[in-house]
């Protein structure tokens, strides 16, 4: 009888021994195994992403020439307005540089823009991450902020040889400091629960009492620049609800985030120039 009982417990004993052995393995070895497994599957992720791009290319090829001409015309109009904006930006930058020199202020952080395609989106209630098709091969450092046309996407949490993993601001574990546009007092922003078939949401806490926000009069929430990760003024979302918090000293509320965060195809990594990672020889 004891022998039969041992036979029944043997699978669990084997697993227990394997797990005990795994637990005592050095962290560096585990980290190496993890990176190896990730790199092993990276070609699958990249190949699937490139197949999707090819599929999109062939779908676009099926459009008529008239549609192409119309799209080109619209694009030319957008380009014209962007050119004006670029000239204005250059003028403002020169003005800032002149003032900084005049007042002997330290120069602001500068970034190199690295555009990257999204290879994989992975959005669950547990985590919200994307994998981009650029990594160490393009000098992307861990911790770099990632943005898109609608504002902040998140920040790079892991960098691999040809890919990087970005944790989105919609992720429940993300916390950062924001400010209401036109205000300088910092507010705590946290990624929230992302309901199914609805735009992602976040939570704001420690909001000053005089700030009033509702669905009819939302307030734009932007990055504060504190903490040194995100440059100031980037859109996080819109505060659509603000209520008195449990401590009675601050308000807490809900932030509606850009719904395009769920279908990102291209993002821009802001690579800080002062912590530039050397590019590998190609």
């Amino acid at each position: 009888m004891p022998s039969r009982r041992f036979d029944q417990a043997r699978p669990f004993l084997t697993l227990g021994i394997i797990l005990a052995f795994w637990l005592v393995l050095p962290a560096a070895l585990k980290s190496f195994v993890r990176a190896s497994f990730f790199e092993l599957t990276a070609p699958i992720t990249l190949a699937a992403s490139k197949v999707r791009d090819l599929q999109e290319f062939w779908a676009l090829r099926s459009h008529s020439k008239t549609e192409l001409i119309e799209a080109g015309r619209d694009q030319a109009r957008i380009n014209a307005s962007y050119e004006v904006a670029v000239q204005q930006t250059a003028e403002l930058k020169a003005e800032i540089a002149r003032l900084e020199e005049l007042l002997r202020l330290p120069a602001r952080d500068q970034y190199r823009l690295e555009h990257a395609r999204v290879a994989r989106r992975d959005f669950s209630a547990w985590w919200q991450r994307i994998v981009i098709r650029k990594g160490r091969d393009f000098g992307i450092p861990a911790g770099a902020p990632v943005v898109f046309s609608g504002g902040v996407v998140g920040r790079v949490v892991e960098v691999r040889a040809t890919t990087a993993i970005v944790e989105l601001i919609t992720s429940p574990g993300v916390r950062l400091a924001g400010v209401i546009e036109g205000d300088s007092r910092p507010i705590s922003f946290q990624g929230g629960n992302n309901p199914t078939f609805a735009p992602p949401t976040g939570i704001v806490e420690l909001m000053p009492l005089d700030i009033i926000a509702s669905p009819t009069s939302p307030k734009r929430l932007v990055t504060s620049g504190y903490g040194g990760v995100f440059p100031p003024g980037l859109t996080l979302g819109t505060v659509i609800r603000a209520e008195l918090g449990s401590d009675g000293l601050h308000k807490s509320g809900e932030v509606r985030l850009d719904e395009r965060l769920g279908s990102l195809n291209e993002v821009t990594v802001l690579v800080p120039l002062n912590v530039e990672v050397p590019l590998p020889a190609r």
Binding site: A48, T196, F197
Partner: protein, 172 residues
């Protein structure tokens, strides 16, 4: 341990992982998620010998761990435990019955989903509606794909074993 069999069992798990990530990429715009943990363990635990089966399931778990922000080994440990539970009671489960296999995969998937939710505990009760939606989505896809995936794994093993037997005969 038969390493060839471990590789043979791991191949379809890599394919499953790739398909799972593709489905999740497509579902992301609807804020839905597909978890296929049950499919990773059900067939192997039900039909394969203990050693190679457990090794393949652990490798499949590490594959999932590498791409997710959990402690490295979490999926592997949970998959290994689920494998052992199914392995112990597999004599009482009809192996060739598709409905029984699908039910087993669904139960395993349900258990693993709950276990990972407990381990990660995202956002407290406020996260429950989203977790429920993800679980329903996962269970529907697992129920639909179990017969195909079981058949794929079974056929692949049969094909490779037949090819190896033929080669051995020729060499003789």
């Amino acid at each position: 341990m038969n390493l060839r069999r471990v590789a043979l069992l791991t191949g379809p798990l890599v394919l499953l992982w790739a398909l799972q990530t593709e489905v999740n990429h497509l579902l992301s715009s609807r804020q839905l998620f597909f978890f296929a943990g049950g499919l990773h363990v059900a067939f192997i635990a039900l039909t394969q010998p203990f050693g190679p089966g457990l090794a393949a399931v652990l490798v499949g778990g590490l594959l999932c761990d590498a791409a997710t922000p959990v402690a490295f080994g979490t999926h592997a440990a949970l998959f290994g435990f689920a494998h052992n539970v199914i392995f112990r009671m597999r004599d009482r489960i009809p192996k060739d019955d598709t409905v029984a296999a699908a039910l087993l995969a669904l139960f395993a998937n349900f258990g693993l989903f709950l276990a990972i939710s407990v381990v990660l505990s995202p956002g407290g009760p406020a996260a429950w509606p989203r977790l429920a939606a993800d679980l329903v989505c996962s269970q529907v896809i697992v129920a639909l794909t179990t017969p195909w995936f079981f058949s794929l794994q079974g056929r692949l093993i049969d094909l490779v074993e037949a090819a190896l037997a033929l080669r051995a005969e020729r060499l003789r």
